[in-house]
């Protein structure tokens, strides 16, 4: 009787803790920044050299429309510094991370850049400018591969993950994302079956995707935003199917 009692208590506690969790930590993506603040900072700090918007033209610096997702030094009709040309050849692409680094301190990212700007050290101002510029790049609705417009709420919870007892009911809910590709009856046509795996194997595989050790991009994306409880819940649910 002892082991069973212990298991029951643990399951009850875990369920109680977990039942509250989704409401305590809603999965809300974070804004890049406030584009209105960004517009003001852009006007004050950037607009002497750069233009953005429908009527924009190259000035001292290049047009900034469509910069997110574009390679560095990509305008054929603008003469870039040797430093920027070198970064272009090395494959630097403007993403939220690289633009953030560049605007924080241009010379730290691109040696020899002609952008003689001391850098924006204030986070609110800098993220505001990034949010403002994001509005002039591709809309993911039309170009799904476009750079993200927000920061994921995905949380990385440290180890002891195999100890977590999965909430199979929650797992069933989460599995509705899996069944889009992995058939619930275990059919295997181009996409592997994930039905009745041992729970531990399931959890380990999902974390391998999450850590991008396993290479498949769809699964990296799916696993990347599942937290440890969610992975455990899915493992618990799929273990029950046959």
């Amino acid at each position: 009787m002892m082991p069973m009692a212990r298991k029951t208590i643990c399951a009850a506690v875990c369920a109680a803790v977990f039942a509250a969790a989704p409401f305590a930590t809603p999965a809300t993506a974070a804004e890049i920044g406030d584009p209105e603040i960004g517009a003001k900072v852009f006007k004050k700090e950037c607009s002497k050299c750069h233009q953005v918007g429908e009527e924009a033209r190259h000035r001292i610096g290049p047009i900034l429309n469509g910069i997110f997702g574009r390679g560095a030094g990509a305008h054929d009709d603008f003469k870039y510094s040797k430093g920027m040309q070198r970064m272009s050849a090395d494959g630097l692409t403007w993403t939220l991370e690289t633009l953030d680094a560049y605007i924080t301190n241009p010379r730290a990212l691109v040696s020899g850049t002609r952008m003689s700007f001391k850098g924006l050290k204030d986070d609110e101002e800098r993220f505001g400018v990034l949010a403002y510029l994001r509005g002039y790049s591709d809309d993911p609705q039309n170009i799904p591969e476009a750079e993200p417009t927000a920061l994921s709420s995905a949380v990385h919870v440290p180890p002891e993950v195999l100890e977590i007892i999965g909430d199979a009911e929650f797992g069933e809910y989460l599995s509705s994302e899996c069944t889009t590709c992995h058939q619930a009856d275990g059919s295997d046509e181009g996409i592997p079956s994930i039905v009745s795996w041992p729970e531990e194997d399931f959890v380990v595989a999902m974390h391998a995707y999450k850590q991008e050790l396993r290479p498949h991009p769809v699964m990296q994306m799916m696993a990347g935003r599942l937290n440890d409880e969610e992975i455990a819940a899915l493992a618990a649910y799929y273990a029950t199917l046959d």
């Binding site: 989704p22 993911p140 039309n142 591969e145 509705s176 069944t179 996409i191 935003r225």
Partner: protein, 419 residues
């Protein structure tokens, strides 16, 4: 006191009225879903399945059999049969969904009723609109849907239009010209027109190898552009010409009578013209009064209309933020909405919304590519928080695996939707 007949009837009527409110409260809550495509059928099935009979679900769809738009390009390229795109509603009905084959013609949001073309009326507690797209009148000069869709088909709602386009392509004279008028943003399935071009080119290499393909595109850029153009060069060198707004594609007139296309003053004589017009939410969304501009704005956490809290709008018709208009997106959104609706009607658990999308495209034999992203609510819209795309230069084995994965996805999503 003597009860006469009149008094008795009066009393019983009054009693009936007094009982009406509690009786209604105890009745099963009613969900009506308009549109049996990917969003609507998924939502109806998930509500019926997960509520285990506690919710009365009715699905209204005009067609007795659904033809998926996704993979219809593969039919044009002879990679799929037309039959393989078609799905019936029998299994959905077995799940407990009442399937009504009829056209919804009106929504009374105050009375919470839906009117059907047959004259019947359905009442609802929650209404789900998943009507897909209709075309914006006048978006392509010279083309009127009711008059010209048999001459210059759109084939952007799968069904008879798809088979018509295929017949026209097969009957094209040797060395003839196929012109596609690509749609402006936003539209259903961002890579769809370009996958279609790939599939038409594949068909032509087999039956009409000197044929020419011209894409007249009002957009300066399109999804997977690098991947498509690389694929076109590798598989169909010299056959496909893509023309963007630098060459006047914002000033196009089609002439169905003569099969000509006027491209900014330059006349192109075509043999087959595929007009994919500008798009808007399926008309019933506008009739219901839940649209702003061409689309129906929704809350990002549960796909609820921003205009009416008793209506959810799914899929292509909705304006939700960053998700592309795709079957994958509609299926993803439908599950979030189904959970939210069950939560409101039966008090079942509601978990935070998660959305995702992947679009596979076929470039040629065993040459598949994909683009995808994950999405979250940021409180105001559904925002993209991460994306990936196939790379130019991937090896043949990976491209083949990507294509096989897309076949698995089709089998998976259609079984998820239709049971």
């Amino acid at each position: 006191m003597k009860l006469n007949r009149r008094t008795f009837i009066g009393t019983s009527l009054a009693t009936g009225a007094a009982l009406a409110t509690p009786a209604l409260a105890q009745a099963k809550p009613k969900v009506v879903v308009i549109g049996g495509g990917t969003g609507g059928a998924t939502c109806a099935r998930y509500i019926a399945k997960d509520s285990e009979g506690a919710i009365d679900v009715t699905l209204v769809e005009a067609n007795p059999v659904y033809t998926t738009c996704y993979f219809s390009n593969l039919y044009l390229g002879d990679f799929r049969t037309f039959d393989s795109l078609q799905h019936g509603y029998e299994t959905l009905a077995q799940t407990g969904v009442t399937v009504v084959t009829d056209m919804a013609t009106g929504v009374d949001r105050d009375a919470k009723t839906v009117t059907l073309a047959s004259g019947d009326t359905l009442s609802y507690d929650k209404l789900v609109l998943s009507p897909g797209i209709d075309f914006v009148e006048g978006s392509v000069n010279g083309w009127v849907e009711a008059e010209h869709d048999q001459i210059m088909p759109h084939a952007y709602k799968a069904g008879p239009q798809t088979t018509l386009l295929k017949e026209q392509l097969e009957a094209m004279p040797e060395g003839g010209t196929f012109v596609m008028i690509a749609p402006p943003n936003p539209y259903r399935c961002p890579p769809g027109p370009y996958e279609r071009v790939s599939m038409v080119a594949h068909l032509m290499t087999k039956i009409n190898p000197t044929a020419k393909i011209m894409v007249l595109d009002p957009k300066p850029k399109f999804s997977k552009q690098g991947l498509f153009q690389d694929g076109w060069n590798r598989h169909y060198a010299g056959m496909i010409e893509w023309v963007g707004p630098d060459f006047g594609t914002e000033n196009i007139t089609v002439m169905p009578e003569t099969m000509e296309v006027d491209l900014d003053g330059e006349m192109i004589q075509a043999d087959v013209v595929n007009v994919i017009p500008g798009q808007m939410a399926g008309k019933i969304a506008g009739i219901a009064g839940v649209t702003e501009g061409n689309w129906a704005p929704v809350m990002p956490d549960d796909m609820k209309s921003k205009i009416d809290e008793n209506i959810h709008v799914l899929g292509d018709a909705s304006a939700q933020g960053d998700m592309p208009k795709s079957g994958f997106s509609a299926n993803s959104q439908a599950k979030v909405a189904a959970m939210a609706i069950r939560g409101e009607l039966t008090g079942s658990r509601v978990f935070p919304a998660k959305y995702s999308n992947t679009c596979w495209s076929l470039l040629g034999v065993d040459d598949g590519v994909k683009v995808g992203a994950s999405y979250e609510s940021n409180g105001e819209k559904i925002a993209s928080v991460g994306s990936f795309i196939s790379q130019v230069g991937e090896d043949a084995a990976l491209r083949k695996a990507t294509y096989e994965e897309s076949l698995g996805w089709y089998a998976g999503i259609t079984s998820d939707i239709f049971g």
